[in-house]
Each structure stands twice: as structure tokens, then as C-alpha cells.
Symmetry: C2
Subunit: 202 residues, 2 copies
């Protein structure tokens, strides 16, 4: 690992905790001269391996999570409302992200953040290729190409590879930050990831 | 809730994350003029309700936890080794704690901390009433009385009541801090509990 390596930010667009972390990760990395590789994946594959069900379906834990998300939104002064359908099947926005990363990498992080904001901040259905196209268009991307990208085998394959990579790296939840080989699970561990960057590890 | 109310620190002696939090909670509360009510309970009852298995038995998540505990121990400069048998059945030390709380409340937090340190720092079997007696004796308590307390129906009942109380309060894991009605799960949320104390909530 060199200092020039980006830190990896693994997430599923369906994760409220990832939504909050997504607002902090670029600034956190920049404070230590690092870039961020945004890495959407399908966390459902990891949940299956670990025997977990989506958080909102877990007794007691689901109620806590709902309360906690609203509390975090107030703390970080971000809009937050649960999507009408949850969990969100994040296949389409994730494929679109990898298309943008390959063709217009400079706007890819902003595109990811705007997808998150549309979903949790504005109640937009980001599983709909048309909505994805509109979100991209606001950043100067071609809406029709972006909508088509959600069905393109290239980005379908890209997402599958990233999801396999996540599992190979032991990533069992989202968000999950990797600095070199060191992993930090959860939006409430960003402080520790930052300590790791500050100190070079311990 | 008045400022004079203690904050509640719910934990299971078997939890490594609670071991780390136990070293921080009194100082955290004291910085805001608050006392701490130490509340051991049997987290297994909560895990059963939520369908969870002990962390070390979960694929991927168990490996992460082991790595994470060692990493936290280095960060906080605390000794740490996994007990020979894990999870630890924490019935006996928890009953002993409630006996000490009722009869010598001033030393109860230190007694709890010493039990944690014996288990995770020195590899002592704290399920053994004799070892519990020795740990208490080092604090000036009567070793034989303490060993007997682990089988006393009064403290058996006290532990059962606290475990029921935990479930009634929606406490699904350990450690878990309550400030008034506000709950914070996990040793990695102490920063948020502290923010809550600083601000009076948000």
C-alpha cells in the first residue's frame, strides 16, 4: 500500500447508514491526502452468507435502527425518510454507477451521492432507470444512455465482479471502509478509520 | 429525567465490546456530572428474541469481531485474550455484582471492572464462585459470602429482574447505554452518548 492508494468505500444504495457515511467519506479521506474509490455492491449476497436478514426485519434491532437513522439525520442535518419499499433493490443504480465511473469518473462520486440523496432525502424511486437518467442529466450526463446502462451486460458484469470482490474481502455489511487491508465496518466507525489514517495504523 | 439521574450502562460480562466500554463509561459520565448505574444482564435472552447467535459463531462477522477486539485492545492499551471457553456464561459474576451493589455499592463498579479484567486481561474463569470471591476479597469484600451469593435466590432473582427490564427497554445487545429514555448500542457509540450528554439531546 502506498499513500497514493485510494481508500475503498463499500456500500449498498439501500443502506441508510451508508447514506450518512457517504456525506462524510470524501472529506475524511481528503484530510489525509487520500482519494476514495466508491464501491457499490449488493449487500444481500453478504447477508445471505452470514445468515442475517435486513435490519428493519429484525425484532428490537429494527426499531432501534429506525430511531437511530432519524437521530443521525438530525445530528448531521440531513433530510431522511424511509423509502416506500424497503429494502431497496439496488441493482440498477449500482450498474449505472459503474457505467459512470468508467466513462466520466470525475463525476462518479457526486452521482452516487445524488442517488443517495434522491432515495433517502427526496423519496425518489432510484430503482427506475428513468429516474436514474434524470439524476445523471443534472450532472451533465446523457439520460438515455444512463437508463440503458442499467440493462447493459458490461455493467451487470461489473457489479457482479465487485460484489464477488466484496465477499472475497470479507465484507459482510455496509458501509465498510478499507484502508489497505484494514477494514472498518459501519458508519459509526469512521472515527476509527480516521484514526488509522492519522497514525498509519497501530 | 433530572440531571441527577445516573446513566445506565447495560452489559454482559461475556462481551469483549462491553469490556472496552467498561473502561470508559465512568469517566465519560463524570465529565458531565453524571453517575453510572452498572447493569449486568444476560444478553443471551435478547439474542434469542432477535434471532442472533453469538458473534464469534457468525460467518465473516465472527472473524471481523476477533480482529476488531484485538485492534481495540491495542488502541486503548488494554490486555486482551479470548477466554478458553466463549461465550462465557455470565450468571455467577452477574449475581455477585448485584449482591455487592446491594451491600457495598461504593465498590460495585470497581468490582465489575475487576471481573472484566480478570476474564479478558488475565484469563481467569469468572464463572467459578471461588475466583469471584478472590476478586472481591482484593477489594475488601468477604470471599466466602461472595461465592455463596452466586447461589443465593435473592441475587438470582435480581439478575432475572434486570434481564427482564433490559428486554422491556428494547435492549438487544451489549454494551448499551441509556440516558433517560435514549439508548445507544455498542462501544462504538460512546461518542454519540457523550454528544447527547453535552447537548442535552437533539
Amino acid at each position: 500500500m502506498t499513500t497514493a492508494d485510494p481508500i475503498e468505500f463499500w456500500f449498498d444504495f439501500s443502506s441508510p447508514y451508508a447514506y450518512f457515511a457517504a456525506h462524510q467519506i470524501d472529506a475524511l479521506a481528503a484530510r489525509h491526502g487520500r482519494a476514495v474509490a466508491w464501491r457499490p455492491f449488493l449487500v444481500g449476497a453478504s447477508l445471505k452468507l452470514t445468515g442475517m436478514v435486513p435490519l428493519t426485519q429484525q425484532p428490537l434491532r429494527g426499531d432501534y435502527a429506525l430511531h437511530d437513522w432519524n437521530r443521525m439525520a438530525r445530528l448531521y442535518d440531513l433530510p431522511f425518510a424511509m423509502p416506500a419499499r424497503f429494502p431497496v433493490i439496488s441493482v440498477a443504480p449500482s450498474r449505472a454507477f459503474y457505467a459512470v465511473e468508467a466513462t466520466a469518473p470525475a463525476v462518479a462520486p457526486q452521482f452516487a451521492l445524488d442517488l443517495f440523496r434522491a432515495l433517502f432525502g427526496k423519496g425518489v424511486d432510484i430503482t427506475d432507470p428513468e429516474r436514474i437518467g434524470e439524476i445523471g442529466a443534472a450532472l451533465g450526463l446523457d439520460a438515455a444512455e444512463l437508463a440503458a446502462a442499467t440493462r447493459d451486460p458490461r455493467w451487470k458484469e461489473a457489479l457482479r465482479e465487485r460484489t464477488d470482490e466484496a465477499i472475497a474481502k470479507g465484507i459482510f455489511g455496509a458501509p465498510y471502509v478499507r484502508i489497505g487491508d484494514e477494514g472498518f465496518w459501519g458508519s459509526d466507525r469512521l472515527w476509527m478509520a480516521e484514526r488509522w489514517l492519522e497514525t498509519g495504523g497501530w
